[in-house]
Symmetry: C2
Subunit: 261 residues, 2 copies
């Protein structure tokens, strides 16, 4: 089995592209193995800051796609790397869950629980509270700046959806009267820049593979990557945006990335 | 001591107009007493749904302005009355504190703690949480509508400010993708309509007295009330908006509402 496409760097969306919930998309394990065997560089992208990269790697490995934490680029890693470039070692207040806080600490930030900080980091946080909103307000009143992980309105869960980071961002923006300076996850170019740097590849030799036109495909095109839309997730083959946004390739699923003998 | 102005209905803003925090504005007790003695109808308006009307009445009485709960019109009362007109007895989920919930119950609503409701009521809530945000989202996904008490970004407190209802509204709007249908407190005309009905007076025979140009004065003008700006609160005498918005009268404080012999 050989790769059908020539790209050197491969960025894969996860849910809807590599797996659906707890089920691997058929052929995903063989496709990723074939790319790696051919010397291609592979990473997995996620907007969710709820799990650690090791959690994602463990899930991928369990489902049949061997992966290490370093193969996973999620919005908490991207935020920590991006902010380390802007303001290394800064004191930060984190609206987020323990994996997000751990990622900030691992990147050298001083995570505080009060308003004496230079940055308020806003992430998808299922323990969001009025007390956190108030600390964010007091921090901004003292001059703190705002940065966030991901712009998603809701997060799909078994049988429905739950509030995602957009709720936390909107609350903080509304009470502070300030806008977040960057939301680093998809569709921001920042997550792609971190991914390209991590893989050591250039935009023009890399492809992004995803099931969402408005994030994966739009973002890839904006930064000059090739784009492959898979129809194994949320987008249907008759979606009119396929014609207008014109991904480089539209395939049924990740299985079609390889040629079978 | 006689009233200087002829209006039959009198709507007073509270903080900055009648009192400042825990201190009565000098002359307020005499001014209100003189208006009442002359047969004028007096009510006090507040955007805050944190205290009951009885709490406000007790505070006014303690500071020297005798008042009953029925003399106070706050955003929780206005929301409950307004919604009773739209959908009497409906099941509601309340993002709010116990006095807000009690007002809804007192107006015949079925207050529930789950998503099986027709309305999500959003108020200033210092116990706001992700769990409440999620219940609001699930309620809207089942068809619930949104209504809110007050649009204030923050609430002034001793030495600063804390997040107000705008934070709760923004979070719910962001995750549901729906806009609240009405925010009944100042500067909405709804609070004035409820106040006029409560006092039994018409807009053209009523004056609103307040210290905030952008709420009290703007709202009064929009509904055809006379307006009196007091300079005892947040607005300074050199504010350029005084000339452009032209309140009917600008006075130093509530004390100047009466003529002294």
């Amino acid at each position: 089995m050989r790769p059908r496409f020539p790209y050197r760097g491969w960025l894969f969306d996860l849910d809807g592209t590599v797996y659906l919930g707890e089920r691997l998309i058929p052929g995903a394990a063989e496709a990723v193995a074939a790319l790696r065997e051919a010397g291609r560089r592979v990473a997995f992208l996620s907007n969710k800051p709820l799990q650690t990269r090791a959690d994602y790697a463990a899930k991928l490995s369990r489902l049949g796609v061997p992966a290490a934490a370093d193969d996973v680029i999620n919005s908490s890693l991207v935020l920590a790397r991006h902010l380390r470039g802007l303001d290394p070692g800064a004191a930060v207040f984190v609206i987020g869950e323990p994996p997000m806080i751990a990622e900030m600490r691992a990147h050298g930030f001083e995570v505080r629980e009060d308003e004496r900080v230079r940055w308020v980091v806003i992430a998808f946080d299922r323990t969001f509270s009025y007390a956190k909103l108030n600390t964010a307000l007091q921090a901004v009143r003292r001059g703190a700046r705002l940065i966030a992980t991901n712009p998603d309105r809701t997060c799909p869960v078994e049988g429905g959806e739950i509030p995602d980071c957009a709720g936390m961002i909107a609350a903080v923006e509304a009470v502070t009267g300030h806008t977040v300076e960057a939301v680093v996850g998809k569709p921001s170019p920042i997550i792609l820049e971190v991914a390209l740097a991590t893989l050591g590849v250039r935009a023009d030799e890399t492809v992004i593979v995803g099931d969402r036109i408005e994030t994966d495909i739009t973002m890839g095109k904006r930064l000059g990557l090739a784009t492959i839309l898979v129809l194994s997730g949320i987008t249907r083959a008759d979606d009119p945006r396929i014609a207008s946004l014109a991904p480089d390739h539209v395939i049924g699923s990740i299985a079609e990335l390889i040629e079978r003998p």
